[in-house]
Subunit: 394 residues, 2 copies
């Protein structure tokens, strides 16, 4: 068999591992005594319209047939029209390719763009599966550094890392794991670097991974990336906005600045990876409820409560306005040690090493408000232990 | 971008192409004047229990969360229990991996088993996407010959084609495109050849692709393949049995004779190809309705009517008892010419060249009984034209 695949299967993602362990702890000490902030599984239910529309759609027994590989034409039209109305864009339905969620969108896009030996640049800290998808496409994952004050990309490092082998750069705003929303200035600057390097080396594509597009708070706004850089492929998923992560529905938009060949390559990659079509029922659902979101106010309240409490206790927390993650600095500077210490208090957070950057932990606050409130004394005790330890060693 | 992917995307599958053209003809001359036998899209509705169960399941707003990557544990248990009860097997829930349908099952299994440069043997005529998935896994597709009387595998050719590079052999019974159901004797003989060659070269896996498992007629029985060969991976889909092809739900069973490492490799391949989990709603549905099928009697009646009529008109038709395909010999011996001639009568069939064997056409009879009845005069005219042509040229 394939040894790389075996290793990838035997060593499940760290996030999944922590999530599974938290479940075991819950069965031992009860749900209420365990504070699981490990996984980005939306806690708020889907919009009522999702359930109502599904009830209606499943009565149509003809809905379950194959759609065209790229998706049902009416669905692709609805999505293009929404994008154009929302962002004043000029995208075409013929360039929308419906997928089985964000991971499929990325795996397909990378396979479409990359040849053996190419390089793809990601910004640390980054979603660890990026490296898996990039390597599966035969390319090498190259991590560029962040600005550690803002957790936006370090543009000088980006510029230095783009070479003749660079096929694409992945950006993810709002960001997993930091929650940071890139400013318009940053997007503009990234685009400028990419144009400069493309002129030298040939097209460098920008893959904009946007599963958290709608999850922004405090008046933050996401930028319509293709307006700033024309070789942009947008990867989207309805998992987070509609709280449907298990149903696997999203899309790729090969935006208007890309050639038709890129769209064909996306179709070919989807075909090669075994994606016949995205689940038909959820395609039709997406078209019907597009633009709606789950009640995101829970995340907003969780974010405020956690941020205020943690910074109040003395934690350093990245200033973030999106997704449902806080990125918290380990008081000792060691991510794994921070994770282990939190675990002793039944607080489950993800050490940042798995995101390609040491020294932090990701706190996923897509949980109940009760869990946030109940967890605060534990977060306080954890940082107090660092103080005690420092006291002893002084 | 990746040129191979572009080519795969730009040149859609022949089946899809014919299907799309038939749709255009329908819009020109009306539904009733076009006899589309091109695609394996089930015509009978799903069982009533599918609709009823879906209505119930979608009311549970918690059902849409991520499941474990391999599938929800209760779903995997239900599937293993069903297999064991149905076939007197001893398969384990821990070895079931839920997938987005048959294509995903195959793409994942091939990626799990193959290394760059390996070979995978298929039996002509074969489902053309096999070659796409095999090549995407870095391996080479090697076609073994059929016995042209029975359309079962030519075992001498199989034996000759297994080398030290052979990683796996794919079988598909009931078969697409011939409809043939392999006899127990054939399965036993294939297993014997594989054992003989494995002893010489190391493990050769048997991938049993079984989306048509339940679609057998006239008392034909499918054989439980893992009982005959222990290194068997079963790829299954609910698309055809439950008439849900667009919803993408199936599974891989890494059967008990395979090592745990094969299962891990399947998990790693699923992860690498971007399959986070199979659609949650349809996982829970599958567990609830497992063992049910759509009303297959329509296919049985279509098969009898078509077989009787076509052989009566003078066509040579492979004797088949499964799936929903007839494999009809081109009266001129040329598949493409047969397809073109049928097309002039608005009869859409798939020339066999795309299945890796010249001289035949596939007739997919998963259509309405009315379409079968209405198409018969056209089928008669087509073969009569061959007679007239022969008359003229004599």
């Amino acid at each position: 068999m394939n040894e790389t695949m075996k290793q990838r299967g035997a060593n499940a993602s760290v996030i999944r591992e922590i999530f599974e362990y938290a479940k075991i702890r819950k069965s031992q000490v009860g749900e209420d005594g365990v504070y699981d902030f490990s996984i980005g599984n939306p806690s708020v239910p889907p919009p009522v319209a999702v359930t109502e529309t599904l009830k209606e759609l499943v009565c149509d027994e003809k809905i379950h047939g194959y759609t065209a590989s790229a998706g049902d034409p009416s669905v692709r039209r609805a999505i293009a029209e929404y994008i154009n109305a929302e962002y004043g864009a000029d995208e075409r339905a013929e360039r929308i390719y419906m997928t089985c969620g964000a991971a499929a969108s990325l795996a397909i896009t990378l396979r479409a763009l990359c040849n053996e030996g190419d390089e793809v640049i990601v910004f640390a800290p980054y979603f660890p599966e990026y490296a898996v998808f990039i390597e599966a496409a035969g390319a090498k994952c190259v991590a560029a550094k962040p600005d550690l004050k803002t957790f936006e990309p370090d543009l000088d490092d980006l510029r230095a890392k783009i070479t003749g082998k660079t096929r694409a750069v992945i950006i993810n705003s709002p960001n997993n794991p930091t929650g940071v929303v890139y400013s318009e200035k940053t997007i503009r600057a990234i685009a400028s670097v990419l144009r400069e390097r493309s002129a030298e080396y040939g097209d460098v594509y920008l893959i904009s991974d946007e599963p958290y597009r709608e999850l922004v708070y405090d008046g933050a706004k996401t930028v319509y990336v293709p307006a700033y850089y024309d070789k942009t492929v947008v990867c989207y998923s309805f998992s987070k906005s509609l709280s449907l992560p298990g149903e696997r529905i999203g899309y790729i938009d090969v935006t208007s600045g890309c050639s038709d060949d890129v769209f064909y390559a996306v179709c070919g990659a989807g075909r090669s990876l075994g994606y016949v079509c995205a689940p038909a029922l959820f395609q039709f659902l997406a078209a019907r409820v597009i633009g709606m979101t789950s009640d995101l106010s829970v995340y907003e309240r969780n974010r405020r409560a956690l941020y205020a409490a943690l910074t109040g206790y003395g934690y350093e927390v990245a200033e973030s306005k999106g997704a449902f993650y806080l990125f918290v600095k380990s008081p000792s500077g060691d991510a794994r040690e921070f994770y282990e210490r939190a675990k002793k208090h039944d607080v489950f957070i993800v050490p940042s090493d798995s995101f390609g950057l040491g020294g932090y932990a990701r706190v996923a606050y897509c949980v109940s408000e009760k869990q946030v409130a109940d967890s605060l004394p534990a977060f306080r005790k954890i940082i107090e232990e660092y103080g005690e330890r420092n006291g002893r060693t002084q």
